[in-house]
């Protein structure tokens, strides 16, 4: 993480160093630019010296250990970012999601009333309406300490087939996926992630 934050800046610094070399070439052409060259060299060195100061600001999560999945979203929206559909006509769109390894979320039809189903929605005012959505079947899953209880869950990647109706025009919608994720020992609170899609109705 630190390395990634650092390199681009160094690259910029190197390019400033290259300017100094250009300055050297100018001097060999007979132009008296000693002061300027010294200044440019000094500036390049100073920029390099200042680079470490910039690193923390560029990578504020540098010291964040590799354990943040509990604090973030267990589900990530993959694609599509943009769809073109005939205006006013219900059109199926497959929305792809990925669940973090080791986690599962309830399917759209969990086997117990208390469990929170995965559901997709589109806000009513977006110029795009959700006609209906077809969810994949869940796979059976049992917790190691309770092998008698079968859960219906999604793991890995899954896709929801949403039928949408778009008005004519370009609509950048922020749809939502509501889910509740667990691993084999613990559960995270229910969460809603944004599903941004650029819907073009033509």
């Amino acid at each position: 993480m630190k390395g990634t934050g650092f390199s681009p800046y160094i690259m910029r610094s190197k390019s400033r160093g290259a300017s100094a070399s250009e300055g050297t070439r100018i001097r060999t052409n007979g132009q008296s630019q000693f002061g300027l060259i010294k200044f440019a060299r000094f500036f390049a060195s100073l920029t390099l010296a200042l680079a470490p100061l910039a690193v923390p600001a560029q990578s504020p999560l540098a010291d964040s250990p590799n354990r943040s999945v509990f604090h973030g979203a267990a589900v990530e929206y993959l694609f599509p970012e943009q769809v073109t559909v005939p205006a006013g006509r219900p059109t199926p769109v497959a929305l792809h999601f990925r669940i973090a390894p080791g986690f599962h979320i309830n399917s759209h039809t969990p086997k117990e009333d208390f469990l929170i189903p995965t559901s997709f929605s589109i806000p009513g005012t977006a110029g795009v309406a959700l006609k209906d959505a077809a969810y994949p079947d869940g796979t059976d899953f049992t917790l190691p300490l309770d092998p008698s209880t079968k859960l219906s869950v999604y793991t890995g990647e899954f896709a929801i087939q949403a039928r949408i109706v778009a008005q004519r025009g370009n609509h950048l919608i922020e749809a939502s996926l509501h889910y509740q994720a667990c691993d084999k020992n613990a559960c995270m609170p229910p969460k809603t992630i944004t599903v941004p899609i650029d819907v073009i109705g033509n």
Partner: protein, 213 residues
Amino acid sequence: MKRNTLVLSIVLLLLAAFAWAGWANWEYRKQAAEKRLASAAKAELVAGGAGTGDFPHFVSPLMSHPAPDFTLEDLSGKKVSLASYRGKAVLINFWATWCGPCKIETPWLVDLRNQYASKGFEILGVSLDDLDTDDKKMLANEKRDIAKFAAQEHMQYPVLINGASIDKPYGGLDALPTSYFVDRTGKVVATQLGLTSKDDIEGNIRKALGAGM
């Protein structure tokens, strides 16, 4: 003239670089201070490896510190405060109806409570189910669901609602079940995150009861 312009530009660039470095440094210090503040109360999940699903070892800054006091309503609307249990060993168990692992450990808790109640042990089951406090009908339904779950799981100990209102002093409660074991003096002596085992829970209850059991 041309040279002067160049020098002036470079000086300006230099000043800009200084200003930028100062700003970057200030931002970094600000972020670091915010992180320190947040981590002061935040429990940590020390993994196992991200994404492996391995059970993380739970490290709480509340260990060996007084358990933050709270007053919450039980399912009948009666106010219950942690302070009123001073002198008893208390297991504060954060759970929710949607939490499968919580459902697995609840029968263990019921058994252990029956076993150790006479020694001065109590469980406070704090529900983290969402409550729509602005919508009376929804709120009534949500309370009914919690009560239904509690009855189904034979939770005879106090079941408190609106646990989300005390999540900050208890480390954010990013995952359930989460348990804090509080000794007779009100100090946290053990914590657990996620499903462990009945034996682990019992060990921690005995630790909370201490020599007086």
